[in-house]
């Protein structure tokens, strides 16, 4: 896919620990096109955040990328030097973190934190960078930016802090923004505001977004395409519409079925039996087969790479019995037609 702004191919991240090597990301592949928002969905520990950090070369020690490519604007970041990466980070790729309280420096005024990247990357003077920062604060909807500019992070509410984070991520007008569960720490009304803001800014700035979350509703609201991760692998990709209406992997189906629905009266919520596998010794064959209700004999061994479905469009699944999902969904639709 040549028109992609970000093309992650067969990315593998290992974290050597005393009890064994954790295969945190184990052959993840996905692409992000210009101006597009991709949702990266999965349970805790499925490797979503590690994938994001691997893209920027910021894996926690002793984790490292063992193979695979991260092609950003035609350049491989996985093999790039720290120096090259530094020029990309912040300037070409921005990042928004989950917890805006801890991701902002507690002893720095808000305006200085926003102004820092334009000074470091764009060579702006202090006064230029400050007016850039004030401008950004206005754009991300911080009321009375002149007064807020002098505040320290602990003087702001969670929603305001996340707006500051967004302003920081946008400060050098990057081409891509990586969001690591940006709304998980916020309450629902603020969450909605932030998501709407991100959507609007995405259109205004023409920036692509990778949205890591475990919240399917957030993906449905913000993203065009989605990649579902399980045990360090991407097991299904496609447009949000396709994947949510017609999942082609039993794990995705299980995820969608476990979302509470208010239009149906049911006694219990469907859940996926079992637990996510230990990534030190992941199961052979399809990673999901021990928990899969459609599993068959040929699922327990071999490789299960993403398999394109249909002509282009990025629709793909790793399941070899995806017709079982199709039948199941036909009998019992996942999402009621609104």
């Amino acid at each position: 896919m040549t028109d992609a702004i970000l093309d992650v191919r067969d990315l593998r991240v290992e974290i050597p620990l005393s009890r064994g090597t954790v295969h945190a990301v184990d052959g993840a592949s996905f692409t992000v096109r210009p101006g597009e928002a991709l949702g990266l969905v999965g349970e805790s520990g499925s490797g979503k955040s590690m994938t994001l950090r691997a893209i920027l070369g910021l894996l926690p020690s002793p984790g490292r990328v063992v193979s695979g490519e991260v092609e950003f604007e035609g350049q491989d970041l996985a093999s790039a030097s720290q120096r090259r990466l530094r020029d990309v980070r912040g300037a070409r790729i921005g990042m928004i973190f989950q917890e805006p309280m801890t991701a902002l420096n507690p002893v720095m005024r808000v305006i200085d934190q926003i102004a820092e990247a334009p000074m470091a990357h764009l060579g702006q003077s202090r006064s230029q960078a400050r007016s850039t920062a004030l401008d950004l604060m206005r754009k991300v909807g911080i009321p009375d930016p002149h007064r807020r500019a002098q505040a320290y992070p602990h003087e702001l509410s969670g929603g305001m802090r996340q707006r500051v984070m967004i302003a920081i991520a946008l400060s050098c007008e990057p081409k891509l923004i990586l969001c690591d569960e940006p709304t998980t720490a916020l309450d629902v009304t603020i969450q909605d505001q932030i998501l709407k803001l991100l959507g609007a800014l995405r259109r205004d700035f023409g920036v692509s977004v990778v949205f890591v979350t475990h919240d399917l509703a957030v993906v449905a609201q913000t993203c065009e395409r989605v990649a579902v991760m399980y045990a360090g692998q991407v097991i299904e990709t496609g447009t949000v519409d396709e994947v949510f209406h017609a999942p082609r992997h039993p794990y995705t189906l299980g995820l969608l079925r476990s979302v509470p629905r208010f239009d149906l009266k049911r006694q219990t919520l469907d859940s996926i039996p079992g637990q996510p596998p230990d990534l030190v010794m992941p199961p052979a064959g399809c990673r999901f087969h021990p928990r899969c209700r459609f599993a068959q004999d040929d699922c327990v061994s071999g490789d299960f790479p993403l398999r394109p479905l249909g002509a282009g469009g990025g629709r793909a699944t790793a399941c070899i019995h995806d017709d079982a999902c199709v039948t199941d969904v036909r009998a019992n639709p996942v999402i009621a037609d609104a």
């Binding site: 530094r86 801890t102 902002l104 507690p106 990247a117 505001q193």
Partner: protein
Amino acid sequence: MTIAVAEGITESLATDHRGGFRRRWYRTPSFVLGILIVGTVIGLSLAAPLLTSHSPTDQDLNHVLQGPTSKHLLGTDQLGRDEFARLLYGGRVDLRVAFLAVLFPFCLGTILGCIAGYYGRFFDTIIMRLVDMVVAIPFYVLIIALVFVLGAGARSIYIAITLVGWVSYARIIRGEILVAKRQEYILAAQAAGFRDLRIIARHLLPNVITQAIVFAMSDIVLDILAIVTLGYLGLGIQPPTPDWGGMISDGQAFLTTKWELSTIPGVAVIITALGLSLIGDGLADLLRPE
């Protein structure tokens, strides 16, 4: 935007309750008392030429070992030098040497602590083994040995105390950085593509330096004691320059008849040390993160 406005109101309420350093320092009694004591000591030392017309070094062998008189407020020593003048001028010397002798190890230890804590691995091993080596030898043994080798005098004191004193700062800063660098805002700074120097100087240091500053206050006390001790042993500030350690040492021979000759500079040391300790205590309270 109604919600945003409402948020703004709650925030401004919260802002009013916040107590920054600037608003709270005068409500910390130990800090205020410490500042008063140390300020007075520094003030008296600086104002020495105004407070006494005697020179601290002029000898008057016709009037040795006099008790307090209206001419010599605290009497004279065995060489007829005015004890009050020596006390004031000695304070100038001791305080200056003590502050500088804290500044150098503070800077050196902070830099090395940053390197060890931030980069870890090889740097950490080297620096921390050096720390272990210095710590393994008793403070005074090492200081005295170094000053002995380098020759007595203020310059040797700076060098000796720097070579020995940096370990405390390096340890404090390294420990704090080990904790702070795992914070998400450091990851955020790295994700923003900042250079290591900027991350350390702008993001890590302001968050970790307070512990070192607090320690520096008690370290000045230790250094004053060290300087006085060296002076007492004849390795410190060289005569005829007045210093409290030398005065204590000189007066020692006359302890039974003229006890005040040793006692008064000793009390000056204690008062100064007390003031500095109080400032350190107060700072520890004030700079503690909320």
